[in-house]
């Protein structure tokens, strides 16, 4: 029962992010081998497919399949984008990858660009982590100086220009087409699909967008082989995955596990529940994932399929742990406020519906709820979900639907008694400033 580190391996010392240290850890070996052996692009895509790597950003789409959608013989530029716009509440893994191991992302993008024939790439970095953006710029400078980026890389006929693009505070830009709009210097409003980015992406050119962790996994797959990577996890759930554990645990932080690890093991690695309190519920894949009550969660293994079976999703691997001091109405109110604030305003159901849901939950939380409010919430959430341009509508509706479903009694108590089932003093103990001793 322990972590299985690939991406996070060997990152305990100082300056682990620097090129020389990355190389000392075996960095750029996979890419150099490809250049040296002139590995056919198709062979790389086949290897990624064989690895069972699924997108680490939240949707879990098979990466190899996504790469194979890029047109082979497209005249002109093709683009590669890395989605480091990490702003889904609960998720903080990409920040650590870029902070401690940025070159693995660069190497993963190089391999992806080589496999898909992309000439240019952008890493879209979340607005709030400016220091990470600066660090990535430094890593890019190192790579350029070492001839690993630019024209005729390592003397080959492969050229790839990679740049960092900095966001400035919009959760929606984590949606891949909103991200592309944002790189184009516009508002991050998602595009209607089809067409998909593989045919009409950045500047209207074929583009592939992958998450930071997805790219970071690529060099390891190429080194160990797709089959070995797959074997680390479960069938259809290849490899290791970073889990960002937050909330009421003793040691919040990132843990790299083999996919399929039982949830109780992760909970234990994170030091168990704070102050020995009882687990109440877990949001297993970032704030957009439906909440899962403790008993169901304790039976889950951490992989895409198991969590889906439990009625939620693995998402970005952000595990938000809530103990018995948590008021579920208040928790949902904060999440609903987030989606209300972050809706881009483009399509009607999300623009109008997220605010409506927040206002209803807010009135329940503040003791002004009405008997019909739970039905109203279910109905409004139902009218948003599946009817919007992008997944933010579903992301906003999902928590509402699952909180109301699993904790209906708590909501009903609030409406009837104008107060919380969990006494305020108890709630207060659970929300005190807590910093793990190891920090």
């Amino acid at each position: 029962m322990s972590e299985h580190r690939l991406i996070l391996a060997g990152l305990d010392g100082d300056h682990t992010w620097q090129l020389q240290n990355y190389i000392a850890r075996g960095g750029y070996e996979a890419f150099r081998k490809i250049i040296k052996e002139k590995t056919p692009p198709d062979a790389i895509i086949a290897e990624i497919k064989a690895s069972g790597l699924r997108g680490r950003g939240g949707a879990g789409f098979p990466t190899g399949l996504k790469w194979s959608f890029m047109p082979r013989s497209f005249p002109g530029d093709k683009y590669l984008a890395c989605n480091s716009d990490e702003g889904e509440p609960g998720t903080f893994k990409d920040r650590d990858i870029l902070r401690y191991n940025p070159h693995t992302v660069i190497e993963g993008m190089l391999i992806g660009a080589y496999a898909m024939g992309c000439s240019r790439g952008y890493n879209y970095i979340h607005g709030e982590v400016f220091e990470i953006y600066q660090r990535f710029e430094e890593a890019l400078d190192e790579a350029r100086a070492a001839g690993l980026l630019g024209q005729n890389i390592l003397g080959s006929d492969f050229s790839f220009e990679l740049f960092a693009h900095h966001g400035y505070g919009a959760y929606i830009c984590g949606e891949e087409t909103a991200l592309l709009e944002s790189i184009e210097g516009k508002k991050g409003q998602p595009r209607f699909k089809p067409p998909f980015p593989a045919s009409y992406g950045l500047y209207g050119k074929p583009t592939t967008v992958n998450n930071t962790e997805t790219f970071a996994s690529v060099p390891f797959i190429m080194k160990m082989g797709g089959a070995a990577f797959l074997k680390l996890g479960k069938p259809n759930n290849g490899g290791t995955k970073l889990f960002s554990v937050s909330g009421h645990v003793c040691r919040p932080g990132n843990y790299e596990l083999k996919l399929g690890t039982p949830f109780p093991e992760l909970l234990e690695m994170a030091g168990g529940m704070r102050a020995g309190r009882k687990l109440k519920a877990v949001i297993p894949g970032g704030s957009s994932a439906p909440v899962v009550p403790a008993d169901i969660m304790m039976d889950c293994t951490l992989d895409f399929d198991s969590i889906a079976k439990a009625g939620s999703m693995l998402g970005s691997g952000a595990v938000i742990v809530m103990d018995e001091t948590t008021c579920m109405v208040r928790a949902l109110e904060r999440l609903a406020l987030f989606y209300h604030e972050e809706s881009c305003g483009q399509c009607t159901p999300c623009r109008e519906g997220t605010g409506w849901m927040y206002r209803v939950i807010h009135r329940i939380e503040s003791g002004a709820g009405r008997p019909e409010d739970l039905d109203l919430l279910r109905s409004v959430a139902g009218n948003i979900s599946g009817r919007t341009i992008c997944a933010l509508g579903d992301a906003a509706a999902g928590p509402v639907q699952s909180f109301v479903k699993h904790f209906a009694d708590e909501f009903e108590y609030h409406i009837e008694n104008k107060k919380c089932l969990v006494p305020p003093a108890v709630q207060d103990t659970g929300s005190q400033i807590y910093v793990s001793q190891s920090c």
Binding site: H165, H166, G169, E184, G185, S246, A331, R334
Partner: protein, 159 residues
């Protein structure tokens, strides 16, 4: 309108994008303008639009869409506290309350001496470091216990 240094920084951003795609540098250019001016006045937005060669309303759309632009005056130190759920579970709200009490202001207010502005922030992608706050958009402060908040405020007070 903007200093030579800011313009050079904007030019560096523009150079990242293919010819004819200067608009891609807009978000960074507005950030650079805001860093220089302390906030983002409309004149600066108009100037940046002109510099990049886009209609001013296109720049205005972007300036109003992304949450980190300050479209009104802020104090010398803008402190943005994350109160989203994962942070709240480790004291994000309490940290914010502590700051409010210490500074004597509420969210979206500035201290009378113009030194501090307090903002409620959304997820910064650092939930493991809760409580987290952002100083002037660019510097992230992690694990902010009341002691560390005191320290930080004392430091900033001196600046």
């Amino acid at each position: 309108m903007l200093s030579q240094e800011s313009l050079q920084q904007i030019d560096r951003e523009i150079a990242k994008y293919p010819p004819g795609k200067k608009q891609s540098a807009l978000i960074s250019a507005l950030r650079i303008a805001q860093q220089e001016k302390g906030w983002l006045p409309k004149e600066a937005i108009e100037f940046v639009a002109g510099y990049i060669g886009i209609p001013p309303i296109a720049a205005w759309e972007v300036a109003t869409f992304y949450g980190m632009y300050d479209l009104a005056h802020v104090g010398r130190h803008k402190i943005t506290v994350c109160t989203n759920l994962p942070c709240a579970l480790s004291g994000g709200v309490h940290a914010a309350e502590y700051l409010k009490k210490k500074l004597g202001i509420d969210f979206n207010e500035t201290t009378p001496d113009g030194k501090f502005t307090l903002k409620e922030g959304e997820c910064m992608g650092a939930c493991g470091d809760a409580p987290v706050l952002l100083h002037n958009n660019h510097h992230m402060c992690s694990f902010m216990t009341t002691e560390k908040i005191d320290e930080m405020l004392a430091d900033l007070e001196k600046q």
